[in-house]
C-alpha cells in the first residue's frame, strides 16, 4: 500500500507556509535597508548586544526563571501526591488540571487583572480579614504570578506521567534494602523522575521567556520582555530587520534546547496535554 503522492498538497503547503517564512525571517535579519536597496549585514544581530536590549533579555530570562522555579516548587509535590497516593479519582483530578489550560489564554490572564486590581477581589478579601490591602497589579510580582498560573499544569503533567510509571517494585526493593522514606525519594524516586522534571522545566520556561501577553496585561507594559520587544519592532517601530533578528535568535535557541531536552526526556515529552 503506497499513497506517497497523497502527501504532495501538504508538501507544497509546507514549503510555502513553513519553509519560505523562515527563509524570509533569515533574509530580513541579515540585511539592512539602504537607499540602494537591501544590503547584507550583521548589524541587526550586533544591535542585540546593546545594553538596553541585553537588559530586556536579562529581565525576560530572570522572570521566566523565577516563574519556572516557583512552578517546580508548587508542581513537584502536587505531581508526587497525585501519582503516589491512592486517591479514588486521580483521573478526574488530572482532567481538572487540564481544563483551565483549554480556557482562552487571554481570559485566564485577564481574570487575574480582576483579582489583583486596586478594588479587586484580593483586596476585598484582605479588607474583610482586616489585613492591609496590597497593590501588585502592574508589578513584576503580577507578571510572575501570571506565568505561574498559566504554565503550572505544564510542569505537573510531565512529572506526573513519569512518576506514575515508576515500578513499585523498585521502591520496594530499596525499602527491603533498608532505605527510609527520605533516602528512597532522594536515591530512587527523584532520579527516576528527572526526565519529567526536565521536560516540565522546558515546557514552562520556553513559553514564559517568549510571552508578550502576560507582561503586557499584568505588567501594564512597564516590563518589556523579549516578546514585547519583537512585537514593538514589527507593529510600532517597523524595524523588521531587528525584529527578525531577535525572532531568529529565539527560534534557534528554543529549537536547539528542545532537541537537547528531548534527548534527555525520552519519548514522553508533553504527554497528556490532550
Amino acid at each position: 500500500m503506497s499513497y506517497k503522492w497523497a502527501a504532495s498538497p501538504y508538501l507544497v503547503w509546507m514549503v510555502i507556509f513553513i519553509v519560505v517564512p523562515i527563509i524570509l525571517v533569515c533574509y530580513y535579519s541579515l540585511t539592512v535597508r539602504t537607499d540602494a536597496g537591501f544590503r547584507f549585514s550583521t548589524d541587526n544581530f550586533r544591535r542585540f548586544f546593546e545594553p538596553i536590549y541585553l537588559k530586556v533579555l536579562y529581565r525576560s530570562i530572570e522572570l521566566a526563571f523565577v516563574a519556572t522555579v516557583v512552578c517546580f516548587i508548587l508542581g513537584y509535590p502536587l505531581a508526587y501526591i497525585l501519582a503516589r497516593s491512592d486517591f479514588k479519582h486521580t483521573n478526574v483530578l488530572i482532567m481538572l488540571l487540564v481544563v483551565p489550560m483549554w480556557m482562552n489564554f487571554l481570559l485566564r490572564t485577564y481574570a487575574w487583572m480582576t483579582i489583583l486590581e486596586q478594588n479587586g477581589v484580593l483586596n476585598i478579601v484582605l479588607s474583610w480579614l482586616r489585613l492591609p490591602t496590597i497593590s501588585i497589579l502592574y508589578t513584576e510580582a503580577a507578571v510572575i504570578l501570571g506565568m505561574v498560573y498559566n504554565f503550572l499544569p505544564f510542569m505537573v503533567l510531565p512529572i506526573y506521567s513519569v512518576l506514575s510509571k515508576i515500578d513499585p517494585s523498585v521502591v520496594e526493593a530499596a525499602e527491603d534494602l533498608g532505605a527510609n522514606g527520605i533516602i528512597v525519594f532522594r536515591k530512587v524516586i527523584f532520579p527516576l523522575s528527572l526526565p519529567g522534571v526536565i521536560s516540565g522545566i522546558t515546557m514552562v520556561f520556553m513559553p514564559a521567556v517568549t510571552t508578550f501577553v502576560i507582561s503586557r496585561l499584568l505588567g501594564g507594559g512597564q516590563f518589556t520582555l523579549i516578546g514585547n520587544l519583537i512585537e514593538q519592532q514589527f507593529l510600532y517601530v517597523s524595524d523588521w530587520g531587528f525584529g527578525s533578528a531577535i525572532s531568529l535568535a529565539m527560534m534557534v535557541l528554543i529549537l536547539l534546547s528542545m532537541a537537547v531536552m528531548s534527548k534527555f526526556a525520552g519519548e514522553d515529552r508533553g504527554l497528556g496535554l490532550w
Binding site: Y3, Y10, F17, Y110, W274
Partner: protein, 287 residues
C-alpha cells in the same frame, strides 16, 4: 494525618487554578459596574454582549476561521499522514522535522514569519491571511494525530480487500478510513480548539480591523477590566468544557473498546519490567 495534609495541598492548588475562572463567572452576573460591590444577580452583561456588534463580529470571525481551518487542515493533514506513512529514510525525517517546527516554535515567531510572508506576497492582511495562518499551524496537529493510527494499521487487511476484488479506492474507503477515523476526528477537534484559542498568531496575521475573539479581548483588557468580557469568558469556558467532555468521552470509549488487549499487554510489560529491574538490582548488589 499525612493524607489529610496531602488532600489539603491538592485542594489549595486546585483552588488557585480555579479561583480566577470562578471570579470571572461570578462577576458576569454582578449587577454593578464596579467590582468592589455586589449589586445583585443580573443577566445585563449577557444582554449587552448580544448588542455589542464588535464582539459579535469577532465571535463570527472566530467560528468561521475555526470551522474552515479545522476542516481544511484535517483534509490536507490526513492526506499528508497517509502519504507520509509510505515515505522512508532521510526524506521522511526531514519532512517530519519541518512539520514539528510550527508545534515547537514560539507562537510569536510563527506569527511574525507568516506576517512577513503575507506582506512579501503583497496580500492584504485580514480574514484570509488569518485563515491561512490557522490552517498552517493546525495541519501538524492533524498529522501527528493520524500517523499513530496508520502505524497500528494491519496492511494485510487492505491487501486482502484488493485480493477479493476491491478497487484501491473502495478498499481505502472501506478498510483504511474506518480504522484511522478516530485519529482524524481527534485531529479535527484538536485543530478546532486550537484555532478558537489562538491569539498570538492571529494577532500578527490580521489587519484592517478584522479581529477574532482573542484579539478583541486583548484590546478591551488593555483598556482595563470590563464586565462584558466576563460574560464572554463564561460562555467560552462553557463551550470549551462541553468540547472537552465530548473529546474525552470519545477517547475513553475507544480505550475501553481495545481495553482487553491493552490490559494483557500491560500485564506482560509489567512482569517483564519487574523481572528486568530485579535482575538489575541484584547485579548492582553483587557489585
Amino acid at each position: 494525618m499525612v493524607r489529610a495534609l496531602k488532600k489539603c495541598y491538592v485542594a489549595v492548588i486546585f483552588a488557585f487554578l480555579y479561583a480566577p475562572i470562578l471570579v470571572l463567572i461570578l462577576y458576569s452576573f454582578n449587577n454593578s459596574r464596579s467590582r468592589g460591590t455586589w449589586g445583585g444577580f443580573t443577566l445585563r452583561w449577557y444582554g449587552e454582549l448580544l448588542q455589542d456588534r464588535h464582539i459579535l463580529g469577532s465571535l463570527y470571525n472566530t467560528i468561521i476561521i475555526a470551522v474552515l481551518s479545522a476542516a481544511i487542515a484535517t483534509v490536507i493533514g490526513t492526506a499528508a499522514a497517509i502519504g507520509l506513512n509510505g515515505w522512508r529514510g532521510v526524506q521522511r525525517k526531514v519532512i517530519m522535522n519541518i512539520t514539528y517546527i510550527p508545534v515547537l516554535n514560539p507562537d510569536i515567531v510563527t506569527g511574525i514569519s507568516l506576517m512577513l510572508l503575507f506582506v512579501f506576497a503583497r496580500m492584504p492582511l485580514g480574514l484570509l491571511t488569518m485563515l491561512l495562518a490557522h490552517i498552517t499551524f493546525n495541519i501538524p496537529y492533524v498529522i501527528l494525530s493520524v500517523l499513530p493510527k496508520l502505524k497500528q494499521l494491519d496492511t494485510h487487511l487492505y491487501e486482502a480487500a484488493l485480493d477479493l476484488g476491491a478497487t484501491p479506492w473502495y478498499a481505502f474507503k472501506k478498510v483504511i478510513l474506518p480504522e484511522i477515523m478516530p485519529g482524524i476526528i481527534t485531529g479535527l477537534l484538536l485543530a478546532f480548539t486550537l484555532s478558537i484559542d489562538d491569539f498570538v498568531i492571529s494577532f500578527f496575521t490580521t489587519g484592517s480591523g478584522v479581529a477574532n475573539l482573542s484579539i478583541t479581548i486583548f484590546s478591551m483588557a488593555r483598556r482595563g477590566v470590563n464586565p462584558t468580557i466576563n460574560a464572554v469568558s463564561t460562555l467560552m469556558f462553557l463551550a470549551v468544557l462541553v468540547l472537552l467532555v465530548i473529546v474525552n468521552l470519545r477517547v475513553s470509549k475507544e480505550n475501553s473498546r481495545k481495553g482487553r488487549r491493552n490490559h494483557e499487554q500491560e500485564a506482560y510489560d509489567h512482569r517483564h519490567r519487574r523481572f528486568g529491574s530485579a535482575r538489575r538490582l541484584s547485579r548492582n548488589h553483587a557489585r
